[in-house]
Amino acid sequence: MTETDKLPSGRDRIESLEMRGITKRFPGVLASDHVNFDVKSGEVHALLGENGAGKSTLMKILYGLYHPDEGEILINGKPVRISSPNDSINLGIGMIHQHFMLVQTMTVAENVALGLPSSRGLLTDLDRVSKRIIELANLYGLKIDPSAYIWQLSVGQQQRVEIIKALYRGAALLILDEPTAVLTPQEVDELFVIMNQMVKDGHGLVFISHKLHEVVEISHRVSVLRDGRMIGTRLTSDTTKQDLANWMVGREVGFTPDRGQVECGGPRLQLKDVACGSDRGTPGLRGINIDVCSGEILGIAGVSGNGQRELAETITGLRKTTGGHVILEGNDITGFDPSDITDRMLSYIPEERMRDGMIKDFTVAENMILREHEKMPYSRYGFLNLREISRHADELIKKFHVKTPSRETHAKNLSGGNIQKIVLAREIFRTPRVIIAAQPTRGLDIGATEYVREQLLEQRKQGVAIMLISEDLDEILALSDRIAVIYEGQVMDIVPRAEATPAKLGLLMAGVHPEETKQTSEVF
């Protein structure tokens, strides 16, 4: 081998990796059906497919987490045996998982060091690991504090830890399973810089995403899975976003929902000088004043970690306020129990649905009544009404196109996007008065995104007051009537939809004051 065949880390490249005839059956599902897939050194191969198409399954097979029923894997033309993540790590394969594989109660450095040999033998060498993390972070322009605990980090920051983990292990081939679902547009750009750098260095990358513009921007080739079968592989340069969408779904899909005109009623949710702490002990919110009216979608834009989580949690009663009042339909609900607030028909779609929105070991049907399980018709005198629960589950599964073998399947066995749908279905279906929706379409495929957005607009038409917290400016702009930009726990400005442009919002999100944004926009 010549020098140029090595990666910067000193590892050999994986010139080509091939999966042949991979088949994987789960109870009631054929998740992979004789799939062929390959990646070459120096390319980004995008993998597309609807929720439940089998993308994660295929990649978990490659990473050694699942064992295929049939098929083989070849590296540089030679068959290899991958029976555990240990094998794949040793072969130079790394994976960034769709659901974080992080230990919440441990620090960034501990999470990175886990499973690696230490330079001090039996003792940990966290100080050296931390140093190396900072080096890597600087090299790739990622900001991360190695001594922070994972639970203190925002989702976007946690994702960075996952990236660092993989970079640290010097993988030659990196699988990124929906890495951008949780990132802000700026963070996505940063990630793409890293990915391009890695490709130039000779890594091979697999990139899974539901966002087609990302796929068009970053990938060299693109493959589409549908119901566990490989539909085909093309050069990205030969396709367009619209082609990909139609190819993937098998029908025409639209991109912008029709918002229509809705009369805004009186305020249903009011925040008056609301303040609270954050998990790091710093002020999370510093005097927030917002009204959300009936029939209105108020978008909350902002860079991850500027108080979005705290905002949602104070409104829903999950976090104590340190000042101010939360008023729901004229009643002060500050300090109320989350269950009391729920009973006033406030629905909450939490950002981390896997952690805060559901119980993984419960069935689909059980998860669908979590919020209403004590009420008629789902229970009576403390006894669950199983027939009603099943009927309800079947209805939601059908309405929201949840792809599941049955309503009795454990939630954890569903695909990522379908897990999201359970929470969305439950929260939207109960005819709420107010909805707090944090990143509601994160991880959903195009069809499902379209559906959820339609649902939110439908609720708005019914007069529901909706607070839409999202880091996705496209989503904010597509749905909101007004947009509040939040920065370091304060509202920078509230902009009507008609006056909002990505540039203006971007400046506000960066903490530039409204007066200044006016001046700068005049200059442009």
């Binding site: 987490l65 699942y66 594989m101 919440q104 886990l114 499973g115």
Partner: protein, 310 residues
């Protein structure tokens, strides 16, 4: 008389025997803490202790070697741990129920062996007190801390060692990660099963020592069900101590000092009903537990069997 309690000799006696009595709790609870840190709840501690206590006593009695007795107790405990690990890790059995099964097994088996092999209560001369020149001569302190047998010193050494292993070694990192998020550990090539096997067997070994400390170091007899719930208290101490060795030490000391106090009160014929006296340590422990409800969370994966989606 109550006033008899407050003489220096009696106070020193109470403290010294408090330290001694905490020994079995420390071994058993620290062993249990390792298991729980890795996500395994072992309710079989009591059974492991009983079999360990019997093995240590019987071997010491028949061979005359206390060390051989101790070693046998460790092996017996480890084997019980191995069986527990197989049942919970490989067979994914419900941990609480299997633990109770192992408790009943240890209870019955130690009794059976006792009936078959010994029949009557006998005594051995247990591990002697170790005299440390200089230190043991310090008035009061010397008697309390430096005139104890080897297993007592061992128990106190175990506390910093356990803390060190859990917090400063790569093994400790793996143990903690497996107890908090086994999926994450697994995805980084850490073998969840191997780690859990290790901690459960270690826990069994330490429970064996805990049993031995009763039968050949503190009481120097073996009787049926001689642990009388001590193993279960050890499990409670793990929660009490917030899964930290130092917290467990605090809990063990509190419990055994009160126990020692009530024993001395009986010795001095202070007029309180003996039932009440015996109840005291438990009542106080519950009260303290309630008052200081630990802010520390249990390991997230505690008592959840791990299974890859496969």
């Amino acid at each position: 008389m109550i006033s008899d309690l407050f003489t220096v000799t009696v106070l020193v006696g109470i403290l010294a025997s408090g330290i001694r009595l905490s020994t079995p709790y420390l071994y058993a609870a620290i062993g249990e803490a390792f298991g729980q840190k890795s996500g395994v709840l072992n309710l079989g501690v009591e059974g492991q202790m009983l079999l360990g206590a019997f093995a240590a006593f019987y071997v010491a009695l028949t061979t005359g070697s206390l060390w051989l007795g101790l070693l046998t107790a460790m092996i017996v405990g480890a084997l019980m741990g191995l069986a527990m690990a197989y049942v919970t890790v490989n067979l994914h059995a419900e941990q609480g129920i299997s633990g109770i099964g192992f408790y009943l097994f240890g209870l019955g088996m130690s009794d059976l062996l006792f009936q078959k092999l010994m029949g009557t209560v006998e005594t051995v001369k247990g591990f002697p007190e170790i005299y440390i020149p200089g230190l043991s001569d310090i008035p009061g302190i010397g008697k309390i801390f430096f005139s104890q047998n080897i297993l007592v010193y061992g128990a106190y050494l175990l506390v910093p060692i356990a803390w060190f292993v859990l917090n400063k070694t790569t093994l400790g990192l793996k143990i903690r990660s497996v107890g908090e998020n086994p999926d994450a550990a697994d995805s980084l090539g850490v073998s969840v099963s191997r780690i859990r096997y290790f901690t459960i067997i270690l826990g069994g070994t330490l429970s064996g020592i805990a049993g031995a400390s009763l039968s050949i170091a503190l009481l120097n007899v073996f009787q049926q069900n001689m642990t009388s719930g001590l193993g279960f208290i050890a499990v409670a101490l793990v929660y009490f101590g917030g899964w930290r060795p130092i917290g467990i030490l605090g809990g063990a000391l509190l419990f055994s000092f009160i126990n020692s106090l009530q024993l001395w009160m009986q010795v001095l014929s202070i007029p309180i009903p003996s039932d009440i006296a015996v109840m005291m340590p438990y009542v106080v422990t519950i009260l303290v537990l309630v008052a200081t409800v630990s802010k520390v969370r249990a390991p997230s994966a505690l008592s959840k069997p791990f299974e890859r989606g496969d």
